[in-house]
Amino acid sequence: MKFTTLLASAAMALGLASGAMAADDKTKVGFVYVGPVGDGGWTYEHNKGRLAVEEEFGDKVETVFVESVPEGPDAERVMTQMALEGADLIFTTSFGYMDPTINVAKKFPNVKFEHATGYKTADNVAVYSARFYEGRAVQGHIAGKMTKSNIIGYIGSYPIPEVIRGINSAYLHAKKVNPDVEFKIVWAYTWFDPAKEADAATVLIEQGADVILQHTDSTAPQAAAQEAGNVVTFGQASDMSEYAPFPRVSSIIDDWAPYYIARTKAVMDGTWESANTWDGIREGMVAIGEISDAVPADVKEEALALKAAMAAGEYHPFTGPIKKQDGSDWLAEGEVADDGTLAGMNFYIEGLEGEIPQ
């Protein structure tokens, strides 16, 4: 602790002495990524957001990033390094960076931190996330209509609220259009491991699934589905259009660029404040990738109508009556889930089998 404070103050003194002028006219923005920028999914989209910031502000901004940073103590080291190098704003783009972000933020009160998909905030730590579950509702609808075996495979990453929300939302909307549908869920315990993701997809396919939903970052499950020939998939986090029109029939796309630009601007203007942002289809943070022709026209129309209803704010994916897995009531008729419950969601809804790993 003392050593880092010493380092920090030394760096600050240096910064004040040598770079006062240079530092003031350039805003330095750092990004910490959990996977490589070439994963074609989650990190790829965050990096697109970073490039958009560079394009927007040109010479006035300098961005740095570190990719494939493990969630844990290593992340703390990377963030500390970025802060010491004079970053004004640091985006930490994975759930597992939550505590490291808070820890490092304490040591650097003048640096702004933005943590994706978490829930812990501080004076200089904001959190932001996208309402992916809105996209999952559209996916679930299409999946329920497309499955012939009535078995839908789901590759989960870690049992955290964000992933559980996605499973619940997809299941709810698949069940609505296809009462016989069954979900098989496999937890991969990784965000990025193409070989393992491919194995998980293969296992699900071998056990009868003909639709695969994934909450991991790489395109490996798409390749496995393509190999199998008759299995439907959806792009995750990024469009993954290289697998369109089949097996990838649609996708959830995260668009971070407007948010990153707005927050960078706020730091430049000195108006940055800690906030809790949770945007969805309406604000454009969640987009639905083109629904390919492999989907029947009427299903496509329904899916687009569902998307439009959410964009207009007329429909909430978690609208009652919904029961929890154990049969107890969660939402009454017409009741809409509040953000607090959704943010901390740690239960399956009625009909899903298996237990959430604790």
Partner: protein, 306 residues
């Protein structure tokens, strides 16, 4: 929960696929370590093999050329290690780590234009008659050729190390390089050959992931298999057949635990997820209770003047 949904035949068949990259890399590293060199760059050589194999097979349309290219790619990268440790006499641990870091970055650079491309398929060998035998056919006789290469390589390495003069010399160099040198064997030359062989095997293993197991190119796609291969060599007490057993055990439990999850077995997922590591280590540690130990000169630098 319905165990009936798990098809044991498909399970065994897919565990062999899951184990092959690990096996290839481990056999290569085993030979390197038997020669007394510790190359921690397996992960780097694998990923470079993965991209060079992928790129060449996409460009030429031939997976065979791809696999040959991957072996060459892995071997070329290991030349860097040769240069550092055998010529410049640098520390092997540091050089190996550097090799991994370099390989990961370099492969990402090479692979820029190959993201999202589909490689040509190798197809499985269907040997007439025997591949049609129920149960045994799908398990043993309906795989891609490289899987058999892995098994053949294990047998070859075992036989070479145990029964041939070349194997004896290689082991002598690994056990006591000064004595081997005194007897007139070219220690450096033999080690270079072993390192190149290890690089080629690691490259093949990497290409197996990018061309057959996944099949696509993604940055960092080996995701730690190289490190597991390194550990496997130690736990297998530097014995080829045990490395094969370990690789199949590891691959098998990895696939089995995913199957159990999908079938909804009521075992906490955390235990399932860690089971491949624990069971593989346990079994191999129990097996290595006999007096098998590391090559005595492992990791030590050789110079004729010492």
């Amino acid at each position: 929960m319905d165990l009936g949904e798990i098809n044991p035949v498909l399970l065994v068949a897919s565990l062999m696929v899951a184990a092959t990259p690990l096996l290839l890399a481990a056999i290569g590293e085993l030979v390197v370590e038997k020669a007394g060199v510790l190359n921690l760059g397996v992960e780097g050589m694998m990923i470079v093999g993965a991209i060079s194999g992928f790129a060449i097979s996409v460009e030429t349309g031939s997976p065979w050329l791809g696999f040959i290219a991957s072996a060459i790619g892995g071997a070329v990268l290991s030349l860097l290690f040769v240069l550092l440790t055998q010529v410049a006499l640098a520390n092997q641990v540091a050089s190996g780590l550097a090799l991994t870091l370099f390989g990961l970055g370099f492969s990402a650079l090479l692979g820029q234009s190959y993201v999202g491309v589909k490689p040509p398929s190798m197809g499985d060998i269907h040997i007439p008659l025997i591949s049609d035998i129920p149960v045994i056919g799908p398990i043993f006789f309906q795989h891609d050729p490289i899987l058999y290469v892995g098994i053949a390589l294990t047998a070859g390495v075992w036989a070479t190390l145990k029964y041939t003069r070349v194997g004896l010399i290689l082991r002598a160099v690994g056990e006591n390089h000064d004595a081997a040198h005194a007897l007139g064997y070219k220690v450096i030359k033999i080690r270079i050959m072993a390192i190149l062989f290890g690089g080629a095997c690691a490259g093949l293993g990497g290409a197996y992931i990018s061309l057959i197991r996944v099949p696509q190119w993604t940055e960092g796609m080996t995701a730690g298999v190289g490190w597991i291969a390194l550990a496997l060599v130690v736990f297998a007490s530097w014995k080829p057949w045990r490395a094969l057993l370990g690789a199949y055990l590891f691959g098998g439990i990895t696939v089995l635990q995913l199957n159990l999850q999908a079938a909804g077995v009521a075992i906490p997922v955390e235990y399932l997820a860690m089971s491949p590591y624990i069971i593989t280590i346990l079994v191999l540690v129990i097996l290595s209770a006999d007096k098998s130990s590391a090559p005595a000169s492992l990791g030590r630098i050789f110079h004729a003047s010492h």
